[in-house]
């Protein structure tokens, strides 16, 4: 069972890594923020799996902290982006 949990954690990390390769390179900054979001979720998932497999104590709190801060990078991104004049009126494409 331990091996299964670890293998699942590894599989998630692997898929996340593949996704990172695709979107860390862009094309846009919004895509890069998706990379941060993806690794956030994948990281929490594999963190929980690794903790369950190795029996490290108190890891739920680490995951809880990560989950709390998961949206922070995006929030900072939106906050620092050029102020939008009419957010809802424009259709970018």
């Amino acid at each position: 069972m331990t091996d299964f949990l670890l293998a699942a954690a590894g599989a998630i990390l692997f898929t996340v890594a593949v996704g990172l390769v695709r979107i860390l390179g862009g094309p846009g900054d919004a895509d890069r923020m998706m990379a941060a979001q993806l690794i956030g979720t994948g990281g929490i998932g594999s963190l929980l799996l690794i903790a369950a497999a190795t029996g490290a104590r108190g890891v739920e709190d680490v995951a809880l902290g990560l989950a709390l801060l998961a949206a922070f990078a995006s929030a900072a991104f939106v906050n620092s982006a050029a102020p939008a004049k009419d957010t809802d009126a424009v259709d970018g494409r």
């Binding site: 996704g19 900054d29 919004a30 998706m34 993806l38 739920e60 809880l64 998961a70 939106v78």
Partner: protein, 96 residues
């Protein structure tokens, strides 16, 4: 193998599958908004199923509660990020 283990394996396996599906979507979809759509699958279902699979293995009720709270928080973060990033994509038209 006990029934609990089987349950964990099925749920976690399904969770990993959704992470995989989300990543494939990220790789294959042509524009920013649909990539965002793929990403949210990993957030919601992937992590949700993993938490579900880990629940019976939690050491204490508090730990189990924390697992659910983690999932709920990631839901919240995922939903807002999707909104915020999606709006940024639309605004800039970076969806090349």
């Amino acid at each position: 193998m006990s029934l609990v283990d089987l349950f964990s394996i099925v749920a976690i396996g399904a969770g990993v599958f959704f992470f995989l599906a989300g990543t494939v979507g990220l790789l294959r979809f042509p524009d920013g908004l649909s990539r965002l759509h793929a990403l949210t699958k990993a957030d919601n279902l992937g992590l949700g199923l993993i938490v579900l699979g880990l629940l019976p293995r939690a050491e204490s009720p508090l730990a189990a509660f924390k697992l659910v709270a983690i999932w709920a928080l990631v839901q919240l973060a995922g939903a807002t990020t999707a909104q915020l990033v999606g709006r940024a994509v639309r605004r800039k038209g970076t969806a090349a």
